[in-house]
């Protein structure tokens, strides 16, 4: 019942928001709070599977669900301040809530076709939010986003059908396309179809995840979308997409195809890191920069998954860190945009000075810089350290070396851009708005979270991550 509620509450909230045509964020906060409470209860009392096992909550799902819910709550509080400064089209709130609903569906659905439905839903729910300013650039961005994601998601659907085909003639009692049964009877799966399914799902969901070279929509979309939407995409959407890839990997590993699935994952990871490094250096727009940094981090996610062992744990932990830090960065940049104006995201053309214009957000951004580049004591340091450890333990010192070298290049790129943007004299003349408590509370909370994750991961979360990692065929350090 709880599982249904997780999906229905935000869905009804979206409908209500659309009906009331609400233009302020209070409604968002309330719905997000209720959703958060529901997730919390799921922590205390794990809900039973419903709908013949279509909806269930396993550790990995719970991780994604909690991440999305928390991030959405933060974004909702931010939206309160945001909607006071910016005029948005009707339905802004309802599309956001629709995203929450579909994302929750993705997190809780164990029927892979249903998971696909939810995934497509998340894609579509965010599309209208991207072209709030109906200008050329945002239209181009949303068009590329739609076409590429739709193609990707279509391939994923084909992959899903392949998977059901791989089940062959169903022995009685085995439910089609339900995760538990797939894993339980993995040995019976037809290997060729399973491999084909893995390939198509990897490319399909990889497109949504933004792995190179299917990442091409990402910089355009993140660059044009409002900052908080960018945060939801980089933090929430990626988590959902990763969940999709993780599911099929889980099945493949259970079927003993680990040897087959790991190389592509590792290669995608390294490729994404390389592309990110290449495009981060000399980047001239912070939002695009963050997009490429997101490419980097999803690359690390699949890399950890592909390395196996401790790496899987590292990548699940990285999922959490990524959501927190990306949310922080996008919201802080959003404040700069609100106060200084759209020019704030461009450097060197804008001349910097953000630290003066928005002191609080500036400092948050500064901390975010070190958080996103994996410096201790922020969380990403721990996850990246664990992934590198896994590479070494797995006997791939060259992978570890390459990853660290690319991280160094990426640090130079990100740091040069963001420090340049932060320091220096104030660029714009008069501030258009001031950073209100609503605007800074969210990112500040995220900074605290990032620190906490780096210094001491709470016990329950730690155990949850460990169980998720073991379910994916990995191991906890």
């Amino acid at each position: 019942m709880l599982l249904l509620a997780l999906f229905l509450v935000p869905a009804l909230g979206a409908a209500g928001a659309f009906a009331r045509g609400t233009r302020h964020g209070g409604w968002l906060v309330w719905v997000a709070a209720i959703h958060l409470i529901l997730v919390a209860t799921a922590w205390w009392s794990p809900p039973a599977a419903v709908l013949d096992g279509w909806l269930a909550l396993d550790p990995l799902g719970l991780v994604v669900l909690s991440v999305v819910s928390l991030l959405f709550f933060v974004v909702a509080t931010y939206a309160v301040g945001y909607l006071r400064c910016e005029r948005t089209g009707r339905g802004f709130a309802s599309w956001l809530l629709a995203f929450l609903a579909t994302a929750s569906l993705v997190a809780v659905s164990h029927h892979l076709a249903l998971l696909w439905v939810g995934m497509e839903g998340t894609t579509l729910a965010l599309a209208p939010l991207i072209f709030q300013r109906r200008d050329r650039r945002s239209l181009e961005a949303v068009w590329k986003y739609l076409v590429l994601s739709s193609v990707g998601i279509a391939l994923a659907l084909l992959g899903t059908f392949f998977l059901s085909t791989a089940q062959g003639e169903l022995s009685p009692g085995v439910r089609p396309l339900v995760l538990e049964d797939l894993v339980a009877h993995a040995a019976l799966l037809h290997p060729v179809w399973l491999k084909a399914a893995f390939v198509f799902l990897l490319v399909g969901y990889g497109t949504k995840l933004g792995l190179a070279p299917m990442h091409t929509w990402k910089p355009d979309t993140y660059g044009e979308a409002p900052a908080l939407v960018g945060g939801l995409m980089a933090g929430g959407l990626t988590s959902c997409a990763f969940l999709g890839i993780a599911r099929v990997t889980e099945v493949a590993v259970a079927a003993g195809l680990g040897q087959f699935v790991q190389p592509p994952l590792v290669i995608f990871g390294l490729l994404s890191l390389t592309v990110a490094a290449a495009f981060v250096v000399g980047q001239t727009d912070v939002k695009r920069l963050l997009a490429y940094s997101s490419v980097e981090h999803v690359g690390l996610l699949v890399l950890g998954l592909g390395l196996g062992g401790v790496g899987v744990y590292g990548s699940v932990l990285h999922l959490v860190n990524n959501a927190v830090v990306k949310g922080l960065l996008f919201l802080a940049v959003g404040n700069a945009v609100l106060v200084v104006g759209p020019a704030a995201t461009a450097f060197p053309s804008s001349g910097g000075g953000v630290l003066r214009a928005v002191p609080v957000s500036g400092i948050l951004l500064l901390l975010g810089l070190f958080a996103v580049t994996g410096s201790p004591p922020f969380g990403m340091f721990l996850s990246e350290f664990t992934i590198v450890r896994a590479a070494w333990a797995g006997g791939h010192p060259w992978i570890a070396g390459a990853v660290l070298a690319l991280l160094a290049v990426i640090f130079i790129g990100v740091g040069a851009m963001m420090l340049g943007m932060l320091y220096g004299p104030v660029a714009s003349s008069g501030p258009r708005a001031r950073e209100s408590a609503w605007l800074v509370a969210g990112p500040a909370a995220l900074v605290v979270a990032a620190l906490a994750l780096g210094i001491a991961i709470p016990g329950p979360l730690q155990q949850l991550l460990a169980r998720a990692a073991t379910a994916l065929g990995g191991s906890a350090p």
């Binding site: 029927h111 076709a113 249903l114 696909w116 439905v117 497509e120 839903g121 894609t123 579509l124 599309a127 209208p128 072209f131 109906r134 200008d135 050329r136 650039r137 239209l139 181009e140 961005a141 949303v142 068009w143 590329k144 739609l146 076409v147 739709s150 193609v151 279509a154 659907l157 084909l158 059908f161 059901s164 085909t165 089940q167 062959g168 003639e169 169903l170 089609p176 396309l177 037809h190 060729v192 179809w193 910089p219 355009d220 660059g223 044009e224 495009f279 980047q283 695009r288």
Partner: protein
Amino acid sequence: MERLADLLLLLVLLFGFLILGTTRLTTCIRAVAVQGGLLGLLPLVLRPQWSVHTLGLAAGTILVKAIVLPWFLIWAIREAAVRREVEPRVGYVASLVLGILAVAVAGAVAVRLPVPGEHPVLLVTTSLACVIMGLQVLATRAKALIQVVGYLMLENGIYVFGLTSLDRVPFLVEVGVLLDVFVGVFIMGIVVFHINREFDSLDSARLTELRD
């Protein structure tokens, strides 16, 4: 019944070629509409003992793919007052040849693939061929609207493959899929409409402002 199914599938393929070959936008849309209709009939043919599931699926498919979406796209063209030519990036003859190749490849793969249950080989062939053609249209056609058509073709191909596991993919999911396709194309249509308003052309090749 087998023959009928084969006939329908053959028609689906032919209309696919029509989309590749035609010079006129509206023809493309009509063709993809007919394709949708044929797909809607397929379940009824493949499962003679009609159940609620198959009937509902057929109805939904026909409604969405053969009626609503095409009508909507046509409306978009009319509103946008687009020039009617397709303006391919790859010539018509070339695309037709590519189409043939696609069918050949699809067939070659299909006969090798171990499809469970008794299904006409043509089914898998058609679905794969449709997928490839759809991608081809998406990649080689300049106008945004035709890319929507290409996407629809892609979906049709996948739908056809879905028919192989008709009796295990539950109705709810089918509906969900249909709904997603519907909303997706709907939003695309709206975006196309706005693009046209902004760029006074549907040529998606002009959308190259965002770059590094």
